[in-house]
């Protein structure tokens, strides 16, 4: 080890220039350029968002009024005036019914995945298939309900649309609820089991309440998405011009009305489309914001 003292000195210059300007220009430029590209990417995404919100708000606000929200839809697209009352009613009824069907099924399914199946083959299959089902296009779900329900009962109806939307919501709810159940600490389950509670009792009285805010938040997002779905409604709900607050018989939704009116060349129809779009956006945003509030306000303390 005595040789160490005679080793040559390191090659780095002394004293070194440590300033940013001493960094080769090429490296500085690449670094700066890549950072600005990332910023630009963000801008590219946010500009359309801003424009959509701006256009929907400014064109919609001119149309929208209390009357617009409750009046019947004119049965000729070129007629001026009228409102979106039936579509508002249909959106509420259909989305509500879809939620009523999909929520219990989805939550129970998520309980199976997280509390019973865990990593067994069936649970893994269901998990993968839920992911796949999330990717099934909404128009396909509409066709499916048409083929398997509308053709059987021989009637287009709000209920058929609710079935289709429910099928679309189901996998979303299963996966988001499972995620929330997984956050519930095992100690809670063990504590409950140690008190002699049965598995189902533990799940219903301890695990679910602990995860409820997260589950509700996920459900709200699913509802928001379903309310904006168009294709299945167009395929299976038929159409109406007067409000139909029941699940039986033909119905329509805001989304379906936007679609129908947007394609019309008449200004009156286009105006109704903008008004319906603003109404729909407000509904969707309310649910989205509520979901965020619930999840941040009542979040399970992670860890």
């Amino acid at each position: 080890m005595t040789t160490t003292a005679t080793r040559p000195a390191a090659a780095a210059p002394v004293p070194a220039d440590l300033r940013r300007s001493a960094l080769p220009l090429r490296r500085r430029l690449t670094d700066g350029f890549s950072k600005s590209l990332m910023g630009l990417a963000l801008l590219i995404a946010l500009i359309p968002l801003g424009l959509v919100i701006y256009h929907v708000t400014s064109r919609g606000i001119a149309v929208i009024s209390w009357d617009f929200l409750i009046e019947d839809i004119p049965n000729s697209a070129r007629r001026i005036g009228g409102g979106m009352g039936p579509a508002v009613a249909g959106t509420l009824v259909i989305t509500g019914a879809a939620a009523a069907m999909a929520i219990p099924l989805g939550v129970l399914g998520s309980i199976y995945l997280n509390e019973y199946g865990k990593q067994n083959a069936l649970a893994r299959l269901i998990r993968t298939m839920s992911d796949v089902m999330t990717g099934v296009p909404s128009v396909v779900m509409g066709l499916f309900i048409y083929v398997s329900y509308v053709l059987v009962v021989k009637e287009q109806s709000g209920f058929a649309a609710a079935l289709a939307l429910g099928c679309l919501m189901l996998p979303v709810i299963i996966r988001s609820s499972e995620e929330m159940l997984r956050l519930v600490p095992d100690e809670l389950r063990q504590a409950s089991a140690a008190l002699g509670a049965r598995r189902w009792k533990t799940t219903v009285s301890v695990v679910l309440p602990a995860a409820i805010s997260g589950i509700v938040s996920g459900v709200m997002l699913a509802i928001a998405r379903a309310a904006g779905e168009t294709a299945p409604v167009v395929l299976v709900a038929g159409t109406v011009f007067a409000s139909n607050w029941s699940l039986e018989g033909a119905n329509t939704t805001l989304a379906a009305q936007i679609f129908k009116n947007a394609g019309e060349p008449f200004p009156a129809a286009q105006e109704r489309a903008w008004g319906a779009a603003l109404t729909l956006m407000v509904i969707v945003l309310l649910f989205t914001v509520a979901s965020r509030l619930i999840s941040s306000r009542f979040a399970i303390k992670e860890r």
Binding site: I111, V136, S148, T203
Partner: protein
């Protein structure tokens, strides 16, 4: 009866066990619902679409669903190639535009933005995801399409003469409703999904790798290039495939802005058609084999999107496993 006490005990116990069983059965059937629905989709739709499946369904680009002028001998022709073509072109445009943007945003969020800005941006991107597709469609048909015409015209004027590019950027439609417009609108719609998966992927890059790059005097970009991107390639590919699946199935926005012309053309500024779009557009007018043909296209769409989704999940999972192997 001397055993009454004992049996009562037993019954109560049994009832408890029954409740447990019942609850379990409820949960399992709920889980099964997913499998049942998927299976039913395939079976019922294939059965219904069966009359429409023929060689020309898959090979012809001619679409004459009804006797066009009501007098001729014209036999209906259900060739779906033009719709398949439109779907592929539009999805390709969407992915090409959306991927760099999404990866850029994801990198910005994970590697560049301070935490406070990060939450705000994530909220905005979530907001973008929350806008219903029909609203994008409305905006696309009434605002974007007309506004893009001069842009398309300019691009055509500049690049129209170039041999290969010229055929892509031909004379634009005066309505602006075209493959390109549909692709751009779709791109906006799939940015949030690709961004959120890419973000998750980037977040799993081990900190030790980043530190190693920093300690060698890497700039931020060099650190990203050397430590973040190599680790995330598989995951990002998965994200892109998922985005592609979403783009191919998207119906309403495309139906509104693609222009509804049954044609196969290289000109991206021309109007065209897509599989989901034709289904919603002509649903109301269809009967018999015509309806079967539309359902048949639904089956095609279903099979494609399921395959794409499975492939994407497989790619992402394999990338995850490789990462875990590397970290161990």
């Amino acid at each position: 009866m001397t055993v009454l006490d004992k049996s009562a005990q037993l019954t109560r116990k049994d009832r408890g066990r029954h409740a447990d069983r019942l609850f379990w059965a409820l949960c399992v059937s709920a889980g099964f619902a997913v499998l049942v629905i998927l299976a039913l989709i395939l079976v019922t739709m294939v059965k219904q679409a069966y009359p429409a499946f023929s060689a020309e369904f898959f090979t012809s680009s001619t679409w004459i669903p009804n006797d066009p002028d009501g007098d001729g001998p014209a036999k209906p022709v259900y060739g779906t190639l033009a719709f398949l073509y439109g779907t592929l072109v539009v999805s390709a445009i969407a992915v090409i535009v959306a991927v760099p943007v999404s990866v850029g945003i994801a990198l910005f969020l994970t590697e560049l933005a301070p935490r406070r800005i990060r939450t705000a941006i994530v909220t905005l991107i979530d907001l973008l995801a929350a806008v219903p597709s029909v609203v994008f469609g409305l905006w696309g048909i009434l605002v974007v399409a007309p506004a893009m015409v001069p842009v398309y015209q300019w691009i055509h004027d500049v690049l129209g003469g170039v041999p290969l590019l010229g055929s892509l950027f031909g004379e634009p439609r005066s309505s602006g409703r075209s493959f390109m417009t549909a692709g751009l609108i779709l791109a906006i719609m799939i940015v949030p999904i690709i961004t959120s998966i890419a973000r998750e992927v980037f977040a799993t890059v081990p900190d030790s790798d980043k530190q190693a790059a920093w300690a060698l005097g890497a700039t931020r970009w060099e650190m990203i290039k050397g430590a973040v991107l190599p680790h995330s390639f598989g995951g990002v590919v998965g994200a892109v495939i998922l985005g592609l699946g979403r783009a191919m199935g998207e119906t309403i926005a495309v139906a509104l802005v693609i222009g509804s012309s049954v044609q196969i053309t290289a000109n991206l500024f021309e109007s065209g058609y897509a599989l989901p779009a034709i289904i919603v557009d002509q649903w109301g007018e269809s009967t018999g084999v015509f309806t079967a043909a539309l359902i048949g296209m639904g089956v095609v769409l279903f099979v494609i999107t399921v395959l794409v989704n499975l492939v994407a999940r497989f790619v992402v999972r394999r990338a995850e496993i490789r990462m875990r192997g590397a970290a161990a």
